[in-house]
């Protein structure tokens, strides 16, 4: 039995032990009060650290945090939708025989996460923010090396989940948040720990094999693509639709010179506080990819 088989057994056992009914996992209040309760850790809001954030009163900050939470859950839904499609495609595939038992749990757990995220967004936010990653074209995987597609799939999942997990972990411990927000983030963090362990193992194995058999030019293209994916994944946390829904243009009119939703998006993205936050929250993920030599150590975000 190799190390992947042992990991699959261990993760399957853990998933079975912690199996739960998602429809009984949380109690959904009839309504929530976005302006008087925190739904996102304020320090994790995209505008936190900017002058614009400081100019908002606490009610406006909470309103923004609520829409940021709906955006965070929305991008989880989009990420998990792509993830579930990729997992389903690989079930009992020619290169996934030993991992298929765990892929069933992975799929089941991702589906349950999406139930929680989707219910929150639909019930309280009345929307799911659309994904700007509208087309999935041009992945640099060679037909001669189908394992490249597997590596890219699991590497993208890992990037997405590592970032998300930093948010989940922080919010699962934040006593200022509404208990519902804490519960959803806590559930996700616990189950993601298994998915991340699996993803790291698969990515390391696939990349190690690829380094021996994939041409250097193809490996470079994969690295370049992954770097771009990392950047795009972070971009989604800075959504102009959120600023519009939170009414920031009105709230900041006359106090911040550039306050339309796209100007706020640029402000938030480029602000040194945001750059530092992204760097800190990406550290674990970047370290892993640097360790397996799949991404350069220094990567601007």
């Amino acid at each position: 039995m190799d190390s992947l088989d042992r990991l699959v057994d261990k993760l399957c056992e853990s998933s079975r032990r912690n199996f739960h009914n998602v429809y009984e996992y949380v109690t959904w209040p009839k309504a929530v009060e976005p302006e008087s309760q925190w739904f996102m850790t304020p320090e994790l809001c995209s505008l936190h650290g900017t002058e614009a954030w400081d100019l908002l009163d606490e009610r406006a900050q909470k309103r923004l945090a609520f829409h940021e939470a709906v955006n965070f859950f929305s991008l989880n839904i989009h990420g998990e939708s792509a993830l579930m499609q990729g997992l389903a495609l690989r079930l009992y595939g020619p290169r996934s025989r030993t991992m298929s038992p765990y892929l069933h749990h992975f799929l089941d757990e991702e589906n349950k996460h999406s139930v929680l995220f989707g219910t929150f967004c639909e019930r309280y936010g009345k929307k799911i923010y659309p994904d700007r990653k509208v087309f999935a074209l041009g992945e640099p995987s060679s037909p001669e090396h189908p394992e490249q597609g597997d590596f890219l799939f699991f590497a993208k999942v890992l990037v997405f989940e590592e970032i998300v997990d930093r948010f989940n972990l922080a919010m699962s411990k934040d006593t200022r948040l509404h208990p519902l927000a804490v519960a959803i983030n806590h559930n996700h963090h616990i189950e993601e720990a298994r998915h991340l362990a699996f993803g790291r193992h698969i990515c390391a194995d696939l990349w190690a094999a690829g380094q021996r058999s994939w041409p250097e030019e193809e490996r470079r293209a994969i690295i370049e693509y992954l770097q771009r994916f990392f950047l795009v994944s972070w971009r989604e946390y800075y959504n102009p639709d959120v600023y519009r829904d939170a009414g920031l243009e009105t709230a900041l009119h006359g106090r911040v010179s550039k306050c339309n939703p796209w100007q706020l998006q640029s402000l938030a993205w480029e602000h040194p506080a945001s750059v530092a936050r992204r760097a800190a929250m990406s550290e674990k993920c970047k370290t892993f990819f640097a360790q397996i030599s799949a991404l350069p150590e220094v990567m601007a975000l």
Binding site: P130, R132, L137, G138, Y225, R228, F229, V232, W262, Q263
Partner: protein, 83 residues
Amino acid sequence: MTTLATTAREEVRNWVLLHAKDLSEASLTDTTPLLEARHITSLLVPDLLLLLESLRQEPIDLANLKAGDLRDLRTIYARFLPE
């Protein structure tokens, strides 16, 4: 054409030149296929959409967006930055 629309179109063209692989000032025409020829990859599309939204000061209906809407500069101008 208004000056505003001209400026916006120039910004889009400059953005494409900055990000597109293997395209020079001279080789980029209004009918150069951007996605099909992979000058612009799918992972650059979110940034292009944000740029277009900011230039026209209006969100884009993502649910009804088709790859053909971003085929080339002429299509992009007509679809998102009309005169």
